[in-house]
């Protein structure tokens, strides 16, 4: 692809994904409602919520600092960047080489640090509670994800996500046991980082059970809207990274314009299935006690490390 059309395509891809991310969240919630025999609020509900929030007046605490006000925008920017560079539809976009798996983990860590700091900004107990718990989850989730991604990088001899996708998608079908370990670890980290059951209940109203919600308790209006949007972007980003690594078939390869609509169709199907699977997982599990969460993530971390080890021992 020449540079101009590549850049146009890159911008289009990121705008498209940013616009569909709330739809993904709506789909997951709707599936969960169906599984629980309720009629649900419809898959367009998150858009209505965002619209409502943007219309409201923002209310800030007296002592909220500039950091507090800037964080929603920074968060949104980080997540936009993440979904913009993950190879969702095609693998050779101009900014694709920036999609290094370690850099992506670092990007998510940056977002996590800022939201935790914002949680501590106002100085109430809830914010600091949420920040402390979020960092407790994060300090194990981040290495676990890194190790799971390393397993994929070792197989494809690259940490660049487009190269991983091309290598794994184009190779003949080989069973990699280490990827099985890595996939389970990645799934566990996805549940933890996106505040899903069994780590955190995204629909809870009880402050003492909150992790993610407690940090954003003080936000309102457009700030809250941006943070909610960023959360749905994060979920979409994680799911697309998971799809790119563990189910890479169907992504358009370099210079393949005809493959793009097919890639779009395949992507929609994969996202729908992933959302339904997530809803199923959430429905059959129960939320864990907060101090079981480090054990859960510790298991994910050790599984991911075991996956890397299995790669070295079994596959080379």
């Amino acid at each position: 692809m020449n540079v101009a059309s590549g850049i146009i395509f890159q911008v289009l891809q990121s705008v498209l994904v940013v616009l569909i991310a709330p739809l993904m969240l709506g789909w997951v919630n709707q599936c969960r409602a169906w599984l629980q025999n309720k009629s649900g609020a419809g898959i367009w509900q998150p858009y209505k919520v965002l619209n409502k929030l943007f219309h409201k007046d923002a209310v800030l605490a007296h002592d909220a600092s500039a950091l507090f006000r800037a964080t929603p925008y920074i968060l949104f920017g980080c997540m936009w960047l993440a979904v913009g560079i993950v190879p969702v539809l095609a693998t050779d976009l101009p900014f694709a080489p920036a999609a290094d798996v370690i850099a992506l983990v670092g990007l998510f860590a940056l977002a996590r640090v800022f939201i935790a700091l914002a949680g501590m900004d106002v100085g109430t107990s809830f914010g600091t509670l949420g920040a402390r718990r979020e960092m407790m989850i994060g300090f194990l989730a981040e290495p676990a994800m890194l190790m799971a991604l390393f397993t994929a990088s070792l197989i494809s001899h690259s940490t660049s996500l487009p190269t991983i996708v091309e290598t794994l998608g184009q190779r003949e079908f080989v069973i990699y046991p280490s990827m099985a370990f890595a996939a389970i670890a990645f799934l566990m980290v996805l549940l933890a980082e996106n505040a899903r059951i069994p780590i955190d209940n995204p629909a809870t109203h009880l402050e003492l059970t909150m992790i993610h919600e407690a940090m954003i308790l003080e936000y309102s209006a457009r700030h809250l809207a941006l943070i909610e949007w960023a959360s749905s972007l994060k979920l979409t980003a994680y799911i697309t990274i998971g799809i790119a690594m563990f189910l890479p078939w169907g992504i358009a390869h370099a210079g393949d314009w005809i493959g793009l609509p097919i890639a779009l169709g395949v992507l929609v199907v994969k996202l729908a299935l992933a959302g339904a699977g997530l809803a199923l997982l959430e429905t059959v599990s129960a939320k864990m006690r907060i101090f079981r969460a480090p054990e859960f993530l510790g298991t994910a971390f050790l599984l991911a490390t075991l996956g890397m080890l299995t790669h070295f021992l079994l596959e080379t």
């Binding site: 003949e172 069973i175 099985a180 370990f181 054990e295 050790l302 599984l303 490390t305 299995t310 021992l313």
Partner: protein, 221 residues
């Protein structure tokens, strides 16, 4: 790196699943789930035996797989389920000693087992280093599981898991044992389980609990 034939890949996959199940048993608290994991491990063994049987065209391995299915996937778990129901420990949840440390020791054991397997696989021709290494590793992990447990039932399951690892080593590394040896081992394991079952009732009668801590009271001083 040229990819291995499909059968070797399937055996590798079964080996990895075996290792995963060994680690899962190491960190599982509920006795009920432990028995289910053991049954699952038996099932993975059956699959790997079938793959080896198919690829080496040895018909006695099909028989071996059938025996394993009958014994390890159906009969023994059924016996254990009945046992825990009779002993009233069905819903027991056990406190484990420090899961992360146990898993770390497990990882060290895996590396150790692989180093052990390397020179052996260089001598013999048919043995693949990876499967022998994983078999040794799962034996060691099952042993570790026996050490870190406090309830007698989980220790027995550890003993049975050790035998699983041995069986895997036998089928995938040496492509089967002589049928006599295999039947002998199977009988030993069966009798052993029955004897354990009888002992559990005695232990519980004497100490009112299946916590093996109480056995320490049998010391001289």
């Amino acid at each position: 790196m040229p990819s291995l034939p499909l059968t070797s890949q399937l055996i590798n996959l079964c080996a990895a699943l075996l290792l995963l199940l060994a680690f899962a048993m190491l960190t599982q608290r509920r006795i009920l789930s432990l028995i289910n994991l053991f049954a699952l491990q038996g099932f993975v063994l059956v699959l790997s035996t079938l793959v080896v049987a198919y690829s080496t065209r040895q018909t006695e391995l099909y028989v071996s797989a059938l025996i394993t299915l009958a014994l390890k996937v159906l009969f023994l778990p059924w016996v254990l389920h009945r046992l825990i129901r009779a002993l009233n420990v069905r819903w027991d949840v056990e406190t484990l000693i420090n899961i992360p440390a146990t898993m770390l020791i497990g990882i060290v054991l895996v590396i150790f087992a692989f180093n052990l397997a390397t020179p052996i696989s260089q001598i013999a021709g048919t043995i693949t280093k990876s499967t022998l290494g994983i078999a040794t590793a799962s034996i060691l992990l099952a042993f570790l599981m026996m050490i870190t447990r406090r309830k007698a039932v989980s220790q027995v399951i550890g003993f049975l898991a050790m035998e699983n690892g041995l069986f895997f080593a036998a089928t995938s590394a040496t492509y089967g044992m002589p049928m006599v040896v295999e039947l002998g081992i199977a009988l030993d394991v069966l009798v052993g389980t029955l004897v354990f079952g009888v002992f559990f009732f005695h232990i519980r009668e004497t100490f009112e609990s299946l916590d093996i801590h109480h056995l320490e009271k049998l010391k001289e001083r």
